[in-house]
């Protein structure tokens, strides 16, 4: 066969860069790409201590959507959702974008009211949303039990036709390869041990392979954010909590939509391969250890079997988990942190995947222009001192 082209090439880091990005996951890679391609930044390094896509990028349930609650953030999520559509073409790599539609179940009048409010809010922001009755829902998802039988019967649902999935590993590689094409150095096995600051300005980083000086440093390290905080003598408004996922044996196509129950904290989609991926809530306590537990698996299994009774015999093949750095308002922290040249893209909890394109774009804009873009203003760190928390969750 024809000579194989090396698509992924890693570099040894040089002594200095214009921008050093800490973290080789989707947020770090996307930011590097937009900086290189759209802002003409020449010398960029992405430093990753394990392998690209090691963290949340390689572990998530692939959901992309814009049906968030806080209306001031809707333009950001809407743009991110739309950016996924053109990304395969732009990155020249099939991200397997499937805008199959997301269904969010309501199990009470209160939830329906909440969903109505969010739907109106989302429609006003230009996002297509419909409300479905149990009957309409049954036609779309025949295997869903929309009767009175389940413990918390389904009252109705919200349908977000443009929500869907993107293959997470493909996204990592697509952005990585595009980074390489635009001259970004991706350095794996490089661990940042300290951030150098002089007179409140960042000058570079210390790593396990030596010092690298940098005009700007950007942190996009996912669940490990607080380690960056420690390096600069700051606490961050995050706690790191694991979130577990399960996957099954493969089945003939039977589920065309992503089905989620916000109330019951479970969500599931059937992948192109045919298996079901099942996500659930954050775990019960803070931890930096990526483990899975019987309690979470059983809880999820119970919910799936309750609402998809025909799946009772489906078999679980693998369980895994990832670390989520969570804030009290389920919204991220982007922009500056009070130190010149140091920017953050952290606290993405369990909602970081959908936001990859827009957070990469706007992080790059912030880094390149030193100005906080309008669309991410709500995510600034100072909101925790102004008590201007994002109203993403109600209770």
């Amino acid at each position: 066969m024809a000579k194989t082209q090396q698509l992924l090439q890693y570099q040894q880091p040089e002594k200095s860069y214009d921008v050093v990005i800490i973290g080789g996951g989707l947020h770090g890679l996307a930011t590097a790409y937009y900086l290189a391609r759209y802002h003409g930044v020449k010398r960029i390094a992405v430093l990753e201590r394990r392998y690209i896509g090691f963290g949340g990028s390689g572990r998530n349930t692939e959901m992309v959507r814009a049906n968030k609650r806080a209306h001031e953030t809707l333009p950001f999520y809407k743009e991110s959702l739309e950016m996924w559509d053109g990304l395969s073409d732009e990155l020249e790599w099939n991200l397997m974008v499937q805008k199959k539609g997301l269904i969010a179940l309501a199990h009470s009048d209160f939830e329906l009211a909440s969903m109505r409010m969010m739907s109106d809010s989302q429609r006003r922001a230009g996002i297509k949303i419909d409300m479905l009755s149990p009957n309409e829902l049954k036609k779309m998802v025949p295997s869903l039990d929309t009767s009175e039988k389940p413990a918390l019967p389904i009252f109705g649902a919200q349908f977000h036709p443009e929500g869907g999935t993107v293959h997470h590993d493909a996204a990592v590689w697509g952005y990585a390869m595009a980074c390489i094409r635009y001259g970004v150095d991706i350095c794996v096995g490089v661990e940042v041990t300290d951030i150098n600051i002089e007179a409140n300005k960042v000058t570079g980083v210390e790593t396990n392979v030596g010092r690298i000086s940098a005009g700007k440093v950007h942190a996009a390290v996912g669940g490990y954010s607080s380690e960056i905080g420690r390096m600069i003598g700051m606490k961050f408004p995050v706690t790191t909590i694991p979130m577990q996922v399960m996957t099954t044996d493969i089945m003939k196509p039977f589920l065309d939509y992503y089905v989620a129950s916000p109330r019951l904290h479970f969500y599931t989609q059937q992948t192109l391969k045919g298996d079901l991926i099942m996500g659930g809530p954050l775990d019960n306590f803070q931890s930096w250890n990526s483990y899975t537990t019987y309690e979470e698996s059983a809880d999820r299994a119970m919910k799936i079997v309750e609402y998809f009774p025909d799946l009772a015999h489906v078999r679980i093949v693998r369980t895994w988990s990832g670390l989520c750095d969570c804030t009290g308002d389920s919204a991220p922290v982007m922009g500056g942190c009070g130190i010149d040249g140091l920017s953050l893209d952290i606290a993405w909890g369990y909602y970081g995947f959908k936001s990859v394109p827009a957070s990469g774009k706007y992080s790059a804009e912030y880094i390149a222009t030193d100005r906080m873009p309008e669309k991410i203003k709500a995510f600034g760190l100072e909101r925790f001192y102004n008590r201007q928390l994002v109203r993403e969750i109600i209770l």
Binding site: A113, D249, T293
Partner: protein
Amino acid sequence: MTGRLPESPTQVVDRTKPVTIYYQNKPLKAFAGDTVASALLATGIDTFSRSFKYHRRRSASCLTGHCSRCTMNVDGRMHIKTCQTTVREGMSVEPHDNLEFDPKAIADSFSWAMPTGFYYKMFYKPIWFWKRVKEIIRAMPGNMAAVKPLAKKASVDSVNLSPEILVIGGGLAGMEAAITAAQSGVRVVLAESDPQLGGFEAYQAEDGFSRVQESIRRLEQFDNIKVLVSTTVSALFPDGLAVCNQTCGEGDQFVERAYYVRPGTVVIATGAGSSPMIFAHNDRPGVMLPEAAQRMIHMWGIKPGEHVLLAGGDDYLAQVALELLDKGVALAGLVDFRINGLDETLKSQLEGKGIKIWRGCTLTDTRGSKRIKSATIVSLDRSVTESVACDTIVASSGRYPRHKLMGQVGARMIYDRELNFYMPDGLPSSYQAAGRVLGLEDPEAIKAQGRAAAVRALKTLNIQVAGDEQLSDAPAVRPVSLQPLLSDEKSKKKTFVCYCHDVNEENIEQAIAEGFNNIETCKRYTTATQGTCQGGMCEANFAHLLAKKRPELVARDLPTTRPPVSTVSLSSLAAGHHDIPQISPLHRVQVEQGGNPMRMGAWMRMMDFGDQEAESLAVHQSVGICDVSMLGKFRVFGPDAEKLLNRVMTKKVDGLAPGKILYYAACNQGGILIDDGVALKMGEHDYFVTTTTGRAPVTEEWFSRWCREEDWKVWMVNLTESRASINVAGPKARDVLAKLTADDISDAALPFLNWAHLEIAGVKTIAMRMGFLGELSYEVLCPSSQAVFLWNRLLEAGEPLGLVPFGLEALNICRLEKGHLVPGLDTDGFTTLHEASFGWVLNKKKTETVGKPILDLIVDEPMQQQVVPFSLDGRSPILDGALVVDGSKQLGRVTSIRYSPLLDKTIGLALVEPHADWREGGKVKLWFGEREVEADFAKPPFYDPAGERMKM
């Protein structure tokens, strides 16, 4: 292939007990003791499944539950390992694919067009094209199970066990460990995934079988060993839980059983298997591991084939060859990739029987897509190439430990180059390993290690057991040669490494060349080891291949192990878990009387009794009763009770006089309103406190949180479920009660915001006069056991006065008419006490109140949100959740909105940003049906502003 070998004592099949199963709806004769796989193999069925990508024919290749190629739909249950499922009379078995004629098998001819990751490099534009292609991709894979409505609900049993020791694996090592442990009197659970005990030795001809029987005889002497067969330990969670999943056999009413075992200590004796050899078309029906061949001849009495070629670099293959000959199976020969390694005795025995042996040779290719027809043998120096006719290839590239449970508890598997075996490092001391899983082969050494493992394991529990903890001579692990790779450009395309996903050697080479060059990225890009077998048949070969292409990867790390070890059904995981709502003591009687129940939170509540508007009018005009038993009720008492209540509550509880009701609110440290309720003083340092329904489950946690660092003497009792609560509300409420009580309930004796002990209809109650609904009302508390009696007496007494039961909807209408908000419904997780207009509930001098410091800091700051009442004339279709807007700006939302028949207005509350319009005469613009609808700002209450009705 068809028919059975003569019976022998090693067989588990009982030919006196025929069993009929149905394969593709046709009856198939089997015997008790057969597995579904053995029953199929005995009738000559070769193909069990079609492969994932290329739809190649696949047969059972390991017959020990690891390769996942024998999976079929059994009795409506998908992806069942037929090799470990014993037959049951009437069982229905269906393959997942059309095995004989699979049109998608054309994919196999186009494998050249499907290099690694080809789908990442194409199909993505234009978008409409991708949308079509993905539907095709979805439908393509082989071995997909169909999701169909289940004829019968899954029935899974669940059992909890807590033995001192769990032994995983019922082979020689495991049985020995179990016996040793049992001798000390402790409870032992022994789990074995096969339908019978014995492990590897059970199918090592007569000698092995007798050894096993001897151990079983000794084991059966103990009644403190619980033996679980057909039970796979799916996961060992490091907190001690072992999840063991059993497939139930004939006569069991359940289909599966989940054992949740919490042992004090564990012995892992899960054994070792063979790793498959890799050569072109090494996945074809007819290619199997030596264990599979042995199990066929010794356990089920089936010929693996008519003309068998064996291959490997291990004396084990020669041993198996002799066993096959002994059972009358013709051999094509033995291929040994060692030049001089083959044991002399075995060699001469084979040659004495005329069996050809190729030394220093390996296999590179095969022919025969439906079933093997021949194999290509090549010498390591490539000087000799020979094609040999055969219909079966029994091949192994070395032993490989069944290590996954060790990985789950934190051990790392380290590759030993000399031994070509993986050994565990870092196994925690309460998990001891023994036997073939640690590379041993000698039966006596295995038994000794099993004994030692039990001794060491129980020592971690401080239980002394007779036996040697250490082995005097650490038994040596016999090295086995690594398979040499002689693949060429052409054969690499069909040399399968990962069978579950059809990943071949060329795919892996290409991935590495493209830059996916460590095990984690290569695995994800090629999808090797990510299939059902989760590395069980492929990860060793994958690691070796990677190391061959990248010699610097000395460690040959395996991919991360995750639970479960073997697939587990959702219903097994869910076994024993139920979500059941709570019901009040008055639930059933209300339903009988026409109440419409609905689940709200954890409780079932009555929404109405058929007409919520009429019910609300009844509350205003005569009287109604409503079940409010879900509200939180607590006794807080002790010398320091006041200190605690003064912390949690916004009001000061000192000086609360007996008979008086104190209404309070509670905040969190952020000053956010989280709860409200009342407090009554029952006695010296003894209080009765209520909370909202939603907060009741966390009230003890919350209250005790505020004295957890104190040395206070204060205690709580949760009375929520032991006390029922009935709200009797309406102008005739007193008249109704007067008929049932001799106590003085005049307004003078029991004024508004007071409470009293009353005996109503003989029931001892506490009655509280409050004004949530705006009418004369009494909240009557009684023991839950007497609630139904009291309810019915109230109905009887009230009937002539027009008393009706009413539900939550009518309650909602009435409280909205008074403008009363419900914390958590009309406020959210950001609403401070001030923003909820609850500043009047805050004792400004008391500093210890939770949240007071922040409330004081923000009292003069502009509010971020506030609760705004509004009304519209007549009825309105607007529902809860409607947005409040100002042009394109979104200000907030409607939290409660209802039509009031009394006022003939639609009234509601909204949680909104501050705005100039929130004043008399202002307009509140609601967004409904894609347009603005104007409502009037209205200062509450909408009804009886002077509040006279409730003070009657």
